[in-house]
Assembly symmetry: C2
Homo-oligomer: 221 residues x 2
């Protein structure tokens, strides 16, 4: 691996370990020693990338606003569905993503670093504004308020799904959330075309992975 | 005050102080000393009611499932709206209620005491089942899943409203949540009759207080 690629890889290893530890212990009780142990890197390597626990938390939050895997669609509402469904699919397997929610919900961490929610609300408000311009939204719908309410609800669904995993999967619950919101915001013609099946996130994510692998294979030839 | 009334009053003072402290510091960092200081009661009085911090947390959670203030309505859907709107009205002024959410969302506290969410989901599922029997719900609506999704969303809205109080009030946000859910679950005839104005909770709560005071005055004559 080239030097730069190795540095990016190490940084990622450290962030993933930090995500796991913040997620399990909360911000206050998380220690650099625990993160070091899980990342399997040297103390020097960790401090080269992150000078403190605070910087680690900022790093984790910085990774949280990701729409990786969401492919462009003709319908902006379908893209909105895909963002939430892909995240619901990825989150249970990626501690970096769930750690960002845990840090945002933690009062002390929040006071230090803020939360990733305003970024999400802004992003989804933009999607909904574009959907409105394309005629997909009912005329009375306020994109900003709907985005705020959606991000709030998505977060609550994730928190209860984690607290009570004996019920439905996060993907099933988020699919139901879209089925609840959509009839109140979408024009009937747009509504009919949307795919909100619980496995939508998994299918979109697989298609994205296949595309990425093809691109990598093409680049290495 | 009679001896029993005084004991109830003291217990309430302690729980309210515990709610404040759990809410501010989280479960781990909360101390009995801090709770004692805020309650303004003796150590003996506190330990008479609660043997440990664990018991205090259980006491706080026990107070969380409250529908106080919700008056019977012809429409079960209106009662459902009233439960969520009265709580949205009361919560910002009652640390005991917000502390219960904080304890439920706290991974360590949750492992020890469970959460108040299953109780809430069960209560609202019952309301929605009765609404269905009265013909207020669309035929495809599943009362349990809708209740689970609603309690999740309500919780997320509260968490984001606390994290970002610069936006709309909790009452405005919860009113919007009902406006989002209701068209997807209620038959049009029932929907038209519902009052989901942001000040609904305040009005219902005032009516309940007035009734209670009248009843107390009548009893003391």
């Amino acid at each position: 691996m080239a030097k730069q690629a190795r540095a990016i890889h190490t940084r990622r290893l450290i962030l993933e370990a930090a995500g796991e530890v913040f997620d399990e212990f909360g911000y206050e009780s998380a220690t650099i020693a625990e993160i070091l142990g899980r990342a399997g890197v040297t103390k020097g390597a960790l401090y080269f990338h992150f000078a403190s626990k605070e910087e680690l938390a900022r790093g984790v939050l910085g990774e949280a606003l990701t729409t990786e895997g969401v492919l462009p669609q003709e319908s902006r509402l379908q893209e909105w569905v895909d963002v939430g469904m892909v995240l619901a699919h990825r989150l249970p397997a990626e501690p970096l993503l769930s750690a960002a929610i845990r840090l945002s919900a933690d009062r002390k961490a929040r006071d230090l670093f803020g939360t990733s929610w305003p970024g999400w609300i802004e992003f989804i408000a933009r999607q909904l504004t574009e959907a409105k311009e394309q005629g997909e939204l009912l005329p009375h719908v306020d994109a900003e308020r709907t985005a705020m309410l959606f991000v709030s609800s998505w977060t609550g669904v994730e928190i209860l799904a984690t607290a009570h995993p004996e019920g439905e999967s996060l993907e099933q619950r988020i699919a139901l959330l879209y089925d609840m919101f959509l009839p109140s915001v979408a024009v009937p013609g747009a509504l009919r075309m949307l795919d909100t099946a619980p496995d939508r996130g998994a299918r979109v994510w697989r298609a994205h992975r296949a595309q990425s692998e093809e691109a990598e294979a093409a680049a290495s030839v």
